[in-house]
């Protein structure tokens, strides 16, 4: 009953937002781009690079509106929402271009950016009523939070069962040892004890954090705020953990079970739902950034985990073709680009294979979106290209390599890089058959080394026109925005 009611409330919320969007869209058209990606998939770098390229007129041959000169001006609008922080574009660009250039720190809170594109509109309405302007709204957020979205459709009991079942399997089992031991020590029906709850939450959080390490690189780690609490750290909303409970059993009043369940429900309704309905329910375009290469580094388990995490998360979004009724019931994302990020970590001759692996990972999500009528594309991209390509001849064979400065501490074949010397890397051959990525036959055959950001002039006259090199960022832009600038 209550789930039905909340469903109706949420739909009403959506519809109200939809009507508001429609009304404001008439005079100041806005394109909401949902940059979707789990943590460390490169959302912040993608947004920064995209904005940088648009502001500085980067080399974007496939972005037709720009190359045909239909774009007059691009600028950053003052932040429109009072209660959402602005995306710290300047700091991120500074990090990428400064003296000690490095990739931006991982994002710990939500932020938003509004970009305005003034273009030569051809439509009568666009020219006169809308002033030939298109606002592009992009938000950045910790990717961990995205993992919470599937929780909206799960009860505490279901979530507990799923989490426990997952922790019974390797590689999670050994990481969850401490938490599982503690779990056995208390009885769900016992009276609630705050200290025990605190301990359980702490151990559970530690288990989740250990699953993220580079060598395991698992993806399904809800609740996301446990890993990236934002300003909720320490609050009761984040103080709960799964319990080994019988699905048939009702929680007794005052029991540990009841307390945990209440907190879980509060977490979903106060943290997850507002996050989703305020920012993701009404997207126009969606780009799904997937860090395929890190998952491949970690092995088949990580790839499989990534696949099911993305399927779950993307199942929450409203995707598909829009009709006249969309104006009333809220718009859907009608174009979805699945992008394998960090494509600069391998030679371009392997990009086809990378795209095939990505297509396998997002297979289910893609089918669902296609069935709903959305336009789909799959691309290997690098928003900021940190490497150059090279060929190395060794022992009679020619290796297609990439050259750049590996990040300090990266290792390959027994060699540790110092973050200063340039190296040419052959990361191994991606398989012809993408299924090799999940059947475990690739273990140890691939190693993608991370590189430092490329050197572009940050000061002086050259800096004004300096843009980041990229791979297929123009195609991405054309797919996401191009048709709205016609």
């Amino acid at each position: 009953m209550s789930s039905l009611l909340s469903g109706i409330i949420n739909e009403a919320r959506n519809a109200a937002g939809g009507v508001r969007d429609f009304a404001t869209g008439l005079v100041s058209p806005t394109l909401r781009i949902g940059v979707t990606g789990l943590s460390r998939s490169g959302k912040t770098v993608f947004i920064s690079a995209l904005v940088h390229a648009l502001l500085h007129g980067g080399k974007l041959p496939l972005f037709t509106a720009l190359t045909r000169g239909r774009i007059n001006r691009v600028y950053l609008e003052p932040q429109p929402d009072y209660d959402v922080p602005r995306f710290d574009y300047e700091t991120h660009v500074e990090a990428l271009t400064g003296d000690d250039r490095h990739w931006p720190q991982s994002t710990s809170r939500l932020s938003q950016l509004r970009l305005t594109i003034e273009y030569e509109a051809s439509g009568l309405v666009a020219r006169n009523l809308q002033g030939s302007k298109l606002h592009v709204d992009i938000i950045d957020y910790p990717g961990e939070w995205l993992l919470d979205l599937p929780l909206m459709n799960q009860s505490y009991t279901e979530w507990s069962a799923a989490t426990l079942a997952a922790s019974e399997r390797e590689p999670r089992k050994s990481l969850a040892k401490d938490w599982l031991a503690h779990l056995k020590s208390h009885d769900p029906a016992a009276p609630a004890d705050e200290a025990a709850v605190q301990k359980a939450a702490k151990l559970f959080t530690a288990y989740l954090a250990s699953c993220r390490a580079d060598d395991v690189s698992l993806s399904i780690l809800p609740p996301g705020r446990f890993l990236m609490p934002g300003d909720l750290a320490g609050s009761p909303l984040l103080t709960f953990a799964p319990l080994a409970i019988d699905p048939e059993q009702k929680a007794a009043d005052g029991s540990l079970h009841a307390l945990m369940e209440r907190r879980y429900d509060a977490y979903v309704s106060r943290v997850v739902e507002p996050f989703f309905y305020n920012h993701f329910a009404r997207l126009d375009r969606q780009i799904v950034l997937v860090d395929v290469l890190s998952a491949l580094n970690a092995g088949a388990e990580a790839v499989k985990d990534l696949k099911s995490a993305l399927t779950d998360v993307l199942g929450c979004f409203r995707q598909g073709a829009n009709s006249w009724a969309s104006a009333v019931f809220g718009r859907r994302a009608d174009r979805i680009l699945f992008a394998a990020t960090k494509a600069d970590l391998l030679h371009h001759s392997s990009h086809d294979r990378l795209e095939n692996v990505l297509a396998l990972i997002v297979e289910d999500a893609r089918k669902r979106a296609e069935f709903a009528g959305a336009r789909i594309d799959v691309a290997a991209i690098a928003a900021v290209r940190a490497t150059r390509e090279a060929t190395v001849k060794q022992g009679g064979e020619t290796l297609d390599c990439i050259a750049g400065i590996p990040i300090k501490g990266e290792e390959l074949a027994g060699e540790t890089f110092d973050g200063k010397a340039e190296a040419a890397i052959f990361p191994g051959d991606l398989p012809d058959d993408p299924h090799a990525a999940i059947d475990g036959s690739l273990e140890g055959e691939l190693k993608f080394v991370r590189f430092r950001p490329p050197l572009i002039p940050a000061q002086g006259a050259a800096a004004a026109n300096a843009t980041f090199p990229h791979i297929r960022l123009d195609r991405t832009l054309e797919f996401l925005v191009g048709d709205r600038l016609a």
């Binding site: 086809d352 390509e389 022992g395 009679g396 290796l399 297609d400 390959l412 040419a424």
Partner: protein, 367 residues
């Protein structure tokens, strides 16, 4: 399919001058290598069953939309087989006769006076030289025309199969066709600018179309519109006996101009061949073109036809000319229409039915 895994490796580059060291190893970026189609097994490997050294990948298209190559009529050549034999035999006889006659003439000249004989020989040499030059030029013209067709087929393949080799072949053809032309210098520079970027083969072709074809398409549309307008005026005012010849000449000129514009530069034979291809193309696509806003044509024709029978005929001829022009455009354009809209018959309707003051005035500045 079995694959041949190669271990990840790192090659440290010189510490002192990372920039230079890398640029030495960097592969020449001007011509992006086609994607690896063959794999060679390395020597320093542990013994194991190796896959065949050459793997031919089938050109299975992904889920990219297929771009249809331009329809061509293949029935024409077969029908003319006997005719070709007849013509070539007759030509052979004629050339033998001409050779004999020329030899006799020279002999006669020598018999009469040696000086006359030498002059005659000189003239005959000039005749032969000029004939040879014309033949060579015609052959080159035909070859260029053919190249436009093969480039188009390559481009269609590159797009539909996302085939890197076909894309590379297309681009090098385009470079060969347009590199010497002053009006294409800007487009070629743009294209060259983009060769370094990493992009998909299909995108490369789309980019080439945008950079190179757009100005040509505009010019081609102008040529078609101008000719269509002129043909309708000629039909309306020229004496009845002459107008067929005049309209035919106008059409041939248009074909030649279009082919030259797109890089074909055909001679007389080339133009004839193109005319035949256009006729075949129209025969194949005729039904398609008929449905293209046929109603508006009928209405337009009816109105003008009611005003004057000659003007009505003029409009019909103009429309026909525009259609021939569009068919020629399809055939001569080295790339299929991908990112650009294919001009339709309706784009030229206004030009055709706009007679009188406008036609004469607008005609001049474009020439």
């Amino acid at each position: 399919m079995s694959h041949d895994p190669r271990k990840p490796k790192a090659f440290r580059l010189s510490q002192d001058e990372p920039e230079q060291a890398a640029s030495r190893k960097e592969e020449p970026q001007e011509t992006p290598r086609p994607r690896a189609k063959t794999k060679t097994a390395s020597k320093a490997r542990s013994p194991r069953a190796l896959p065949a050294p050459e793997i031919e990948f089938d050109e299975d298209s992904g889920d990219q939309p297929l771009v249809p190559a331009v329809a061509r009529d293949h029935t024409m050549q077969k029908r003319f087989k006997w005719g070709a034999i007849l013509v070539s035999a007759a030509l052979g006889l004629a050339s033998m006769w001409a050779g004999l006659a020329a030899t006799r003439l020279i002999e006669d000249l020598f018999a009469r006076n040696e000086v006359l004989g030498w002059i005659g020989s000189g003239l005959l040499g000039l005749v032969l030289l000029a004939a040879l030059a014309i033949i060579v030029r015609e052959i080159f013209g035909l070859m260029r025309l053919k190249k436009l067709g093969t480039t188009q087929a390559d481009a269609a393949r590159a797009i539909s199969a996302d085939d890197a080799r076909a894309a590379e072949a297309t681009l090098s053809d385009l470079r060969a066709i347009y590199s010497g032309r002053a009006d294409m210098r800007w487009g070629m520079a743009q294209l060259k600018d983009h060769t370094k970027a990493i992009m998909d083969p299909a995108d490369r072709i789309r980019l080439a179309e945008r950079d190179l074809m757009v100005p040509l398409d505009d010019e081609a549309s102008r040529i078609i519109a101008r000719t269509a307008r002129r043909v309708s005026v000629i039909t309306a005012v020229a004496p009845a006996a002459l107008d067929i010849a005049l309209v035919g000449a106008q059409n041939l000129t248009m074909l030649r101009e279009l082919a030259t514009l797109y890089g074909g530069r055909p001679g007389t034979l080339g133009t004839m061949k193109l005319a035949r291809m256009v006729a075949g193309h129209l025969a194949v696509t005729g039904g398609l073109a008929l449905s293209d806003s046929v109603i508006s044509h009928l209405i337009g024709k009816g109105l003008i036809g009611r005003l004057s029978a000659r003007f009505g005929e003029g409009a019909v001829n103009g429309i026909m000319t525009a259609r021939i022009g569009l068919a020629a455009m399809d055939l001569c354009r080295p790339l299929p229409f991908l990112t650009q809209d294919r001009p339709g018959l309706s784009d030229f309707m206004r030009e055709v039915v706009k007679f009188g003051d406008g036609a004469a005035a607008e005609d001049k500045p474009e020439k």
